[in-house]
Amino acid sequence: MTRVTVENVWKTYGKQTVLERINFETAPQSFISLVGPSGCGKSTFLRMLLGDEKPSQGRILVDGVPLQAEPSPDRGVVFQKYSVFPHLTALQNVMLGLELGQSPVLGRLFGKKRRTARDMSREMLKSVGLEAAESKYPAELSGGMQQRLAIAQALVKRPKLLLLDEPFGALDPGIRAEVHEILLALWRETGMTIFMVTHDLSEAFKLGTRVIAFDRRKTRPEELEAYGATITFDLPVMRKIVPPSGAVTSPAETAEAMPKVAVAG
């Protein structure tokens, strides 16, 4: 039941302002779709949620507590550039998260625990359509297969907060629809909060409970450096699916998250 609060966050790289005045709060168990033009700072924003980058100004709270300033197992991530571990097979990549959690010293499981972890991971691989590739190394997989592997790897840990950076870009529509279903099922089941960056607006609205757009207000070239992107629209999506845990988005929260500007970049 995670609630993320973003308070007046700015991010600058040197002289370049990438993001400015980002303010919002999420209801528990939200599925936030982040959209916006290329280069506007979506990945940067996810990196801040991850604890990998610090806001230059402002702060981010999770359940009212300032964000832990380092990545932690309660926040899963799928990067834009698929990053799985090159020295592990597909199955080992997925199992890794389970092994690390249960075996602090060796980071490896044996016997019955290992079999359980393996079965869970196989299940996960199957649901992203990689059952036949479980003993292949990442370099032997196509781009889309690596991306699915990264998704499986993040999902198997069932994090409280899941950060997805264009996770479905390299997937064909068939697989994509299947993975959508898995993701939604897991989301409903675990009640995690998801932030997903996507360029596909229909996907954004299909999956998200709320769609947030980043964009620059000022676009004249001479202003590009000094002004960063900020939230240009913020729309709640009325979902047909009511989360089984009953944590329906309350009207008050929805009101808070009213659209501010309705024009996309």
Partner: protein, 272 residues
Amino acid sequence: MRRLINQRPEILSRLLLAASPFFLAFLAYALASQARLAINPTDKLLPAWSTILDAINRMTFVPDLRSGDYLLLLDTMVSLQRLAIGVGLAMLAGFVIGVLQGLIPYVRATLANFTNVVSMIPALAILPILFITFGLGETAKIVLIFVGIVPFIIRDLAQRVEEIPHEQIIKAQTLGASTWQIIIRIVVPQMLPRLIDSVRLSLGPAWLYLIAAEAIAAESGLGYRIFLMRRYLSMDVILPYVAWITFLAFFLDFLLRGLRRVSFGWMYRGHM
């Protein structure tokens, strides 16, 4: 005509091409040797092939008059043992320190400058200190090899660790990895093949230090023999010894490459 970069020689021409520089080198030697021997038939600098063969035979198959040892065998065993211990220890220490230095900011802050500076110390020049500290026996030679190559291995591995994509380390943390787990599950497995590369690169200097140490104080060993033979310019022994060392070095390199290929399959799969 295809571009030069897209033209690949067939297997036969590949063999011929690969052989040609060796052939040229041998030819050059034969000509130079002949020219010198024509002037002075007992010239020792570039002996004739027959003289070299004689010497090889003598060093390999005829037991030494005084000790009864087969000298080439003895020298080889002694030198390889020194090399193996020195390089082995350097490998171990270099790996542990290199990984920690590359991964952990506090260790890096403490050690990076120091290993950098130490790697610049000309180990040959401090030999007397090594001798007096570690004695003239095997220890000093092994220490020279160790001291000579370990800073390089540390630096190289630390650098490689830093080259691991940042995303991987972040990802591992989101999967719940502690620093220790990152080391044993992410960094070490990916660094083992790099360690082999690093050792391959330091084998050259390691031989150099071995030879230098053996030249200064020893009773046997390949470097010892070469420098002893230099006392009376016995190139008929020195040249085969140099060739033999070259072969040994090449063979070790080959073994290491093989080990890397066999143990780290993931590096060789796929086209990416």
